[in-house]
Amino acid sequence: MDIKIAYSWIKEYLDIDIPHDEFARKMSLCGPSIERWSYSESLKDYILDIEVTSNRVDAASVIGICREAQAILGCKLKKDLFILPELNNQKKYSSAFPLNVFVESNLCRRYQSLIIDNVKVRESPKWLKDRIESAGLNSINNLVDITNYVLLEYGQPTHIFDYKRINGKKIIVRNAKEEEEFIALGTLEKYKLSNDNLVIADELGVIALAGVKGGENSAVSNDTKTIVIESASFDPVSIRKTSRKNNLITDASLLFEKDIHPKNTEFAIKRVAELVLNVCGGEVVSELIDVKKVEFSEFKRIQFSLLEIPRILGIEINKEIVKNILEKLGFYIIKEDNNTFFIEVPFYRMNDINFDYDIVEEIARIYGYHNIPSVLLDTQIPQEQINLELHFENKIRDILVGAGLTETYTYSFVPEKYLITNTKQFIKVANPLTLDFMYLRTELLQSLIKVVEENEELVDTLHLFEISKVYIPKEDRVLPQENLKLAICVNGDSPQEAFYIIQAYWNLLIKRLNLDDKIFHYFSTDSSTSDIFSKVNSSNLFYKNKRIGTIGLISEKVKNQLKLKKHLALFELDIDIFVEILSNKALSYKPISKFPSIYRDFSFIVDKKVKWSEIVSSIYLESGIDIKNIQLFDVFQLKNDENLRSLTFRVEWNNENKTLTDKEVNLYFESIVKLIKTKFKAILRDK
């Protein structure tokens, strides 16, 4: 939490004579961080912006900062901050101002109150106004300003009720009834409370939301004459829940939810009373009412061994220095036994100091982290297998970038519009930022097509890829499966152009990873194929019996839905399975053949339903002897019959033991021609 404190206020308590920036720098190195400050022309003062960590609510006040400074800078406090004037001189109070306090809930640990009569509510004197304004608050009137002043000074929220407005002269601290109403002071906003909210009530109803906000019905006004000061301690978790649930976050609730020690209430109430008597006049007309509902102790003891210091810090610190640091921080050393210290922790540090590590931290920070040397790790380097998924992810990324693709990084969330898939289950965020961030993608292409849509008109062609996770829901009560995917999108003026480029990228990837493209099989799409793909212009990729991805064109439906102008080819690969294949693949080498290869070109006209992959596998299967490579180099649709397609390819034959003769190759050639003619009803084109 951040607090603003005027430097002059600190100097009021602290015997120091250094400029504000030096103070800030030294404090930041060893304690609360003061990275910013501003100069106020009107107050002629530097206002420090101090960041106090959430475990140190005790430091979130002028006094808290002064206590820290005392230890860090080695300066002295000008006065003991915990000695306050006794308010109750022996006088017996009349029953003219009765008040009964009932604490019904354990969520209130302590409730103190005091009545002062004859106060005069008016504008605050200048010194008080200045202090309030230096903290960035608005001056309201002397009473309200005093409670804010004490909140800043002691870090303890207090509240003042108008005595006259407390019905039945009863203060009841209890849980709210379901649907009970509460109207906040100032904003007049109405809240419907629930049973777990703690409230301060009178005979008729809620007069304050405990620890969060005072109620309009009991607030002080300009004609208030008699006041009840409240200084209490509440359960931090309850305050936090109440404040969050009602969406009412106040300076008081932020302090209370960080667990202020119950002892702090007694200093605050006396300080408020002292200031009220000085600033607003009047006299105390009640005893100091003090209801302690929960037992609390005012100190705790911790045992700590000096040997812990080198174990955590890496250096030893002289015993006398250690003692000095602890004492300056307000710790009391009860006993020391060789290297063991028995330490008493002051009440205001009881929350954050729990065990010996906490003591080491205190010693280390005051000693100064900058005084600890910097040492490179000299311990054993762990034996760890390389993470293959990460390794191949990086390798694939490098290959694709090198090939000319541009990498995207999309949000894992997808807007509903892009949730195109063949399954209907998604991981849904319960508290999304907006509807665009509600669902986690189940396919990487859901994210990529959005990028294509948004960039289509900016450049001639898009060649995009991404490697990221998708999130597949499993059962209700388990984590989803997170699968790493590769997706590629290529657009173009013709579907063939876009598609064959994406095929080329896939083939390049296979070759660069030293895989044999014959291990992958193309099968028609089925119900497991995403609806983003065109069913007739796509193919599932299989390795053995596992589907590893899909390659194809975008479906007409999705293309129209996104109003895409260009044709779009898509590729999607399951990296997890791919990594399995890759990790089993060792580099291999075949001796270079001593005998020359022989090549023949083929050109066939086939029905467009015939797949190239089927032709290739038939050739290998039925006429594959001595074939080293089959290379497709031209595919086009016939102009006069669009059901027909022309395929031109080259076959390379090689025998490792001899030079193939023309005669042998001619036989091979003829057998392929025959095979394709009969099996695929193809026509051999004339050269």
Binding site: N55, Y369, V375, I381, N387, G404, I427
Partner: protein, 342 residues
């Protein structure tokens, strides 16, 4: 008068120089200038032939003229390669390869992992949809603890769905990998966990998805001094050899002591300037692993100790490279005009 010996030795000298220079591919034009022009040493010498004793004049003249024709011949030979026509304009570049672009964040991740790899850190990655237990509870943050406010967390479940692990959430930090790593392997641990993280914030300096890298070292005798050593090493390798790191007190529930880590400003090197104010820029959080966290990971805190640090990738990479994108959301907007700049 010039003696015959003197004349011949001068000739020899010229020949020697010439052979040396032509062997070093001296420019032909310059060679011609030096050895064949009217003012060349050789021609000077020839014009002095009258000063040679008359009985040697013819002999010396021949030697000089022989050298002259030898030089002419040699120069001609060296120019006698094919005469080339101008075929290209060396300054024109009309052919283009498609140029791929690695995303800003990938580049940052790559660089950071390599730096840590060199000092024995191995890289891991853990679930992004994570249990509350790993993200908070096991890190010493009980339910309803105000410390949790610092993480604006996305929830999948509104109620606990597992009695131990609680709700499913989107991990708000890579620290959720700490206990997972302790469960995966025994010390020594020296991991770097780089992953996507999610927080409910979107504005000019926040994106709901971002990346962090988390270092975790657990072994016997690991101290704050080692943490400082690793931070110094990282800062010098990532930001530059002149930069320094420092730690300041902070508070995290899962480390004790806890620190904020600063790097000295690259402009003023820590003296303080207009850009950095106090000479230092904050880069992330760190600390010694809390015994309760070691306990959650089944590691005996009386035997082992360790440190952890967690830094944001995007902000630090921008800080390092001096890139200011203005609106950080641009990084994940995927405007091709942004992507193609990296």
């Amino acid at each position: 008068m010039i003696s015959k010996e003197e004349f011949i030795s001068k000739i020899d000298n010229i020949r020697q120089n010439f052979l040396e220079e032509i062997s070093k591919n001296f420019d032909q034009f310059l060679l011609k200038q030096k050895y064949l022009s009217r003012s060349s040493e050789l021609n000077e010498l020839l014009s002095q032939i009258k000063d040679v004793e008359s009985q040697y004049r013819a002999e010396c003249g021949k030697i000089a003229n022989d050298l002259k024709s030898f030089i002419e011949e040699e120069i001609k030979k060296s120019t006698n390669t094919l005469e080339e026509k101008i075929l290209v304009d060396p300054t024109a570049n009309p052919k283009k390869f498609r140029i791929g672009h690695k995303h800003f964040t990938s580049q940052a991740i790559e660089e950071i992992s390599k730096i840590f790899e060199r000092i024995g850190f191995y890289r891991v990655r853990y679930p992004e949809v994570e249990w509350d237990w790993y993200a908070f509870e096991s890190l010493n943050m009980p339910k309803d603890h105000p410390a949790r406010d610092e993480w604006e967390t996305f929830f999948i479940d509104t109620e606990d769905v597992d009695t131990v692990f609680g709700k499913r959430i989107l991990t708000p930090h890579t620290s959720s990998g700490q206990v997972r790593e302790m469960q995966r392997r025994k010390p020594p641990i020296r991991m770097i966990n780089i992953s996507k993280c999610y927080r409910r914030q979107i504005d000019i300096s926040h994106t709901p998805m971002f990346h962090q890298f988390e270092g975790l070292v657990i072994d016997k005798n690991i101290t704050i001094a080692h943490l400082k050593g690793v931070l110094d090493y990282f800062v010098k390798n990532f930001f530059g050899p002149q930069r320094k790191s420092r730690i300041r007190p902070y508070h995290f529930r899962f480390t004790e002591p806890s620190f904020e880590v600063d790097v000295s400003c690259g402009i003023c090197l820590g003296k303080g300037c207009r850009l950095c104010k106090e000479g230092w820029l904050e880069i992330g959080g760190a600390g010694m692993v809390h015994p309760n966290v070691l306990k959650a990971g089944n590691i005996d805190s009386t035997v082992y100790s360790g440190f952890a640090f967690g830094f944001g990738i995007e902000r630090n990479f921008m800080m390092k490279s001096g890139i200011s994108v203005g609106d950080i959301r641009l990084i994940y907007q995927n405007d091709i005009r942004f992507l193609e700049q990296f």
